[in-house]
Amino acid sequence: MELIFEKSVENRGCEILPPSDVPVIKIENRYLRQNDLHLPEMSETDISRHYTELAKRTYGINNGFYPLGSCTMKYNPKINEEIAKFPGFSNVHPLQPVHTVQGCLEVIKLAEKYLCEITGMNSMTFQPAAGAHGEFTGLKLIRAYHEERKDNNRNEIIVPDSAHGTNPASAAMAGFSVINISSTKDGYVDLEELKKAVGENTAGFMLTNPNTVGLFDKNILEITQIVHDAGGLCYYDGANLNPIMGIARPGDMGFDVVHLNLHKTFSTPHGGGGPGGGPVGCKSILKKYLPAPRVIEREEAFDKYDLASAGELSIGRVKEFYGNFLVIVKALTYILTLGGDGLKEASENAVLNANYMMNQLKDTYHIPFAGPCMHEFVMSLEELKKETKVTALDIAKSLLDYGIHPPTMYFPLIVHEALMLEPTETESKETLDQVIAVFKKVYEDALNNPEVLTGTPKKTPIGRPDEVTAARNPMLRYIF
C-alpha cells in the first residue's frame, strides 16, 4: 500500500494549534533550518484511513491465538489501559514536587513490594525499560558488587547455549566476557560444564528457569551453589516467570538478581515491540548498588513517600526519570486484580494449557523433551524437513493462512528446526482445540502436499518478503 508521504498534498493539513496570542519571535537565520521539512500534509479523514489500513495489516492479541514461546502473549486487560489513562497518572510531570506525586510513588512502592514477594527479592528498581535493559542493569549490579570487593578479575559471565540472545549481548554491553556453556541433551544446565566454567574470573551466571525448552531445572539449587561457591552471583532472566508465580521463587532458588518482563508475565501490552518494563530485583546485598532515584517510604501520614538520590555505590542512572511509569501502573493493576491466589492460578493454567497442547500434538509432531513441560514447549521439525523438505518456517507461514500467529521459530538454538509454543493461561480450551486441529492439518499437508506449504501464506496482505535484498541494499527511509 501507499506510504503516508505518497498521500500527502502540499498545503493540506489539520488545524490543531491556535495563532499566537503573544508577539511572534523570529530567531536569527543562522539558527534556522535550511532544508525543507517533509512531513505528511494530510486531512484528518485520510490520516484516519491510513492508520486504519495499517491496523488491519497488524495482528494483535485481539485478532487471535498468539503462542509465541518465551514472549508470553497473554491477554492485555482493558482496565489496565483505562487506568493508565487517568489524568492523575498520565498528566503528571516527572519533576513535580514529591508531595504532589504521592500517588505515583505509591504505585512504584506497591509494585516493588508485590514483585519482590513474587520473586523472593528484597529490593527492586523500575528504571529499566525492557527485559534486556533489565539484564544490563542487573549485570551492572553484579559488576558493582565485585568492584566494591575489589574482586577486579571477575569479568566473565557464564551463559548456557539455550539462553535468550539478550543474555550474552547484555553481558558484553556491561563490559563482561561471555563464557558459553552447552546444555545437556535434555536441555538442562550441564553441571559438569558449569563446574568447569566457574572460577576466579566468574562474575556471574545467567539463567532462565524454567529454561527455554520449557523445563524447570531440577538441579537449580546445585547450580546456584556452584556459582556462589566460585564467588559468582546468579542472575535470573525473568522471561519465563509466568509458570511459577506463587509456586517457586528465584530468590529461593539461589538467585541474587532478577529482571522481570512486565509486558510478558504481568499482562502489559507489547505495543508492536514496546514499551515494556524490565524492573530489576535483587537481594539485600546488592541494594546499595541500585540505580537512583529510588522511592522510599516513611512513617509519616503526609508525604509518606519520597525520592532518595543515588548513594556513592549506586551504578548510576540507566534511564531518564523512573522507568516506563505507565507500564508499572498497568502491571500493578494486574497484580491487584489477580491477587496472590490469582497469580498462582494464572501460572497453573499457563502450565496446564501448555501441557494440554503438547499432549495433543505429541503424536503428530516431534517433541524432543519429555514432559510435563512448564508454560511452553518446543517441537522439532528436523525429521519432517528431512522427509519432506518442509521447514519449521514453512509450517509457521502456513499457520498464517488460518489466522493464527506462528510460534517462535528457530529458538532455542539448541533444537534444530524448532517451533516453540507458549499458549498462555488466557486462552480457552476451545481455542486450543481449534489450533491443535490446524496444527495437525498443516502437518498432514506437509506430508501429502509439501509444495503447497512452501507457497504459503496466501491470504495475508503480502506473501513472503525478500529479506535478503532488504539487508543487502537497505532502503531504510522514503526518499522525497
Binding site: M1, L3, F5, I16, V22, I25, R30, Y31, R33, L39, I47, Y51, K56, R57, T58, I79, I83, P87, G88, F89, S90, V92, Q96, Q102, G103, A132, K140, R143, G165, P168, A169, G175, I220, A248, R249, P269, G272, G273, I315, G316, R317, K319, E320, T337, L338, G339, G342, K344, V351, N353, E427, T460, I462, R464, P465, A470, P474, L476, R477, F480
Partner: protein, 442 residues
C-alpha cells in the same frame, strides 16, 4: 478475585484427565520440593474490576494535576491531538508483538518505516532506527556506536541534561571508555575547554541543542573541533524545536539523538517516552535496535521487514551492536501519528509558539524586581532566571493556584529557576503567573 483464566474447573479437569493426570499439581512435579513456596504469596486477595478501578482512582487522586505547567527539563507539556490518542489506542497496534512475522505485521512495519523517514527528515540525517528507550539511552547508545579502537574518550558538554550525562556514564562504566565532561560557561558549552578536551583519543563529542538551560549552542564551532580531532559529532536535540531550528544534519553531525516525548506523548511521570536515533549513511549499520527496510514480497508487492538483523542480539548474541530487544514501538507510532497530524506547518507552529511564549514569559518575568535572565544567549523555549526570594516558596504559592512553576536549580545555579513554555501556555495564564509572582515577592 479477578481472573483472566477462561477455562472452568470442569474444563481443567477434562484437560488433565485427557493427559492422565488428576491435578494441576502433578504438572509441577519437576520442581524440587526445596524450592517450592511453602505458603501463599503475601499479596492481598484479588479484586473485581470495579474495586481495582476504585482503588487506583484513589491512588491517582493523591497526585496533583496542574492546569498550567511551566516546567520542562526534558519532559514537555505539548498539545496532543485527539486523532493521535484515538489511533494509538487501536488494539492491533497496542497488543501486537515485535513484527517478526512480516506477512501479518505490515501495519507495524510500515508505521516504523514511516517513523524512520520522519526522524530522518526532522534531523536531516540519512537513516534512523525504530526507537530506543528514551533520549538518555539514545545518547548512550550513540556514544557506544562511536567507539573506535584507539579512541575511547567521549567528550560531553556539561550543558547537556544531567540525566543524560549520568546515563551515558553508567553505560560506559566498565567498558574501557571514559567520559569527559566539559564545563559550561554562561549557560553554554565552553568552546575553548571543549577544544582542549578533544584530541586523537576522542571518539565523539556530544552536545545538546537547545541545551539543558534552553540556550542555543554554537554548533558550527563544535563541528570544526570534531573534524579537527577526528571525533564523531553527536547532537541531542528537541524534536519540536527542529520544526524551525537548523538540523543536526545541517550542522554536520554524525549521529542525532533525542527524547521523542514532545511528539505526542503525555508527561506520564516520566515514561514511557521515546528515544530516537539517526545517523549518516556510513554509520547506519552501527545503529542499535530494530530497523525496518523496504523490500518486495514473492509477488513483487511492496513489503517491509525488520532488516540488518545481523547487528542484533538474537542473531549475534555477545557480538551484537546492542542488547536492545523491546524498544518503544508504540511510542514511535505515536510520534508518527503526531507528526502526520501536525504536518510540516503544525510542527513549525508548535516550535514558533513555544519559543514565542517563552520569550514573552521571560520578558514579563524580568520586569519584576529581583528577576533577571541568568544567561544571556539566544534560547528556544527554556531559560534561567534569578529569583528574588526562595524559589521553593514561590513554587508552593504557584501550586496553590494550580500552576507548576519553573524548576528550581541547584549547585552553582542554586536560587535560580529554569522556566519552560509551550503552546499550552496562554498569554492569560502567563499574565496570571506574573501577577502571582509579583504578589509573592512583594
Amino acid at each position: 478475585m479477578g481472573s483472566y483464566v477462561p477455562n472452568t474447573k470442569k474444563e481443567q479437569q477434562e484437560m488433565l484427565a485427557s493427559m492422565g493426570y488428576s491435578s494441576i499439581e502433578e504438572l509441577f512435579s519437576a520442581i524440587p520440593e526445596e524450592v517450592r513456596m511453602k505458603k501463599p504469596l503475601d499479596i492481598p486477595d484479588g479484586l473485581s474490576e470495579m474495586e481495582v478501578r476504585n482503588k487506583l482512582t484513589r491512588i491517582a487522586e493523591k497526585n496533583k494535576v496542574f492546569r498550567s505547567i511551566f516546567r520542562g527539563c526534558g519532559a514537555y507539556n505539548h498539545y496532543i491531538p485527539s486523532l493521535v490518542k484515538q489511533i494509538t489506542s487501536k488494539e492491533e497496534f497496542v497488543t501486537a508483538y515485535t513484527p517478526y512475522q512480516a506477512e501479518i505485521s505490515q501495519g507495524t512495519l510500515q508505521a516504523i518505516f514511516e517513523f524512520q523517514t520522519m526522524i530522518c527528515e526532522l534531523t536531516g540525517m540519512d537513516a534512523a532506527n525504530a526507537s530506543v528507550y528514551d533520549g538518555a539511552t539514545a545518547a548512550a547508545e550513540a556514544v557506544i556506536m562511536c567507539r573506535e579502537k584507539k579512541r575511547n574518550k567521549a567528550v560531553i558538554s556539561g550543558a547537556v541534561n544531567k540525566e543524560i550525562i549520568e546515563t551515558v556514564k553508567t553505560y560506559l562504566h566498565g567498558t574501557g571508555m571514559e567520559v569527559i565532561v566539559v564545563p559550561e560557561l554562561d549557560g553554554r558549552t565552553d568552546i575553548l575547554a571543549l577544544e582542549d578536551a578533544s584530541g586523537e583519543e576522542t571518539s565523539c563529542i556530544l552536545l545538546q541543542q537547545p541545551n539543558y538551560y534552553g540556550q542555543l549552542e554554537d554548533l558550527d564551532s563544535v563541528k570544526k573541533i570534531a573534524d579537527k580531532s577526528g571525533a564523531k559529532f553527536i547532537i541531542s536535540c528537541n524534536p519540536v524545536s527542529l520544526g524551525i531550528l537548523k538540523t543536526p544534519g545541517e550542522y554536520g553531525a554524525d549521529i542525532a539523538v533525542g527524547e521523542g516525548q514532545p511528539l505526542g506523548l503525555p508527561l506520564s511521570f516520566g515514561g514511557p517516552y521515546l528515544g530516537f536515533m539517526a545517523a549518516t549513511d556510513n554509520m547506519k549499520r552501527k545503529l542499535p535496535g530494530r530497523i525496518v527496510g523496504e523490500t518486495k514480497d514473492v509477488q513483487g508487492r511492496r513489503a517491509f521487514v525488520l532488516t540488518l538483523q545481523a547487528r542484533e542480539q538474537h542473531i549475534r548474541r555477545e557480538k551484537a551492536s546492542s542488547n536492545i530487544c523491546s524498544n518503544q514501538a508504540l511510542c514511535a507510532l505515536t510520534a508518527s501519528v503526531y507528526l502526520s497530524t501536525m504536518g510540516r506547518k503544525g510542527l513549525e507552529q508548535a516550535a514558533v509558539l513555544s519559543m514565542s511564549k517563552a520569550h514573552y514569559l521571560a520578558e514579563r518575568l524580568c520586569e519584576l524586581e529581583g528577576f533577571e535572565m541568568f544567561y544571556t544567549g539566544d534560547y528556544f523555549n527554556e531559560f534561567v532566571t534569578t529569583c528574588k526570594g526562595d524559589p521553593y516558596r514561590l513554587m508552593n504559592k504557584l501550586e496553590q493556584h494550580g500552576i507548576l512553576g519553573g524548576y528550581p536549580l541547584s549547585g552553582k545555579n542554586a536560587g535560580n529557576i529554569l522556566w519552560c513554555a509551550t503552546e499550552m501556555n496562554s498569554k492569560e495564564d502567563m499574565d496570571e503567573l506574573i501577577q502571582i509572582v509579583r504578589e509573592v515577592e512583594e
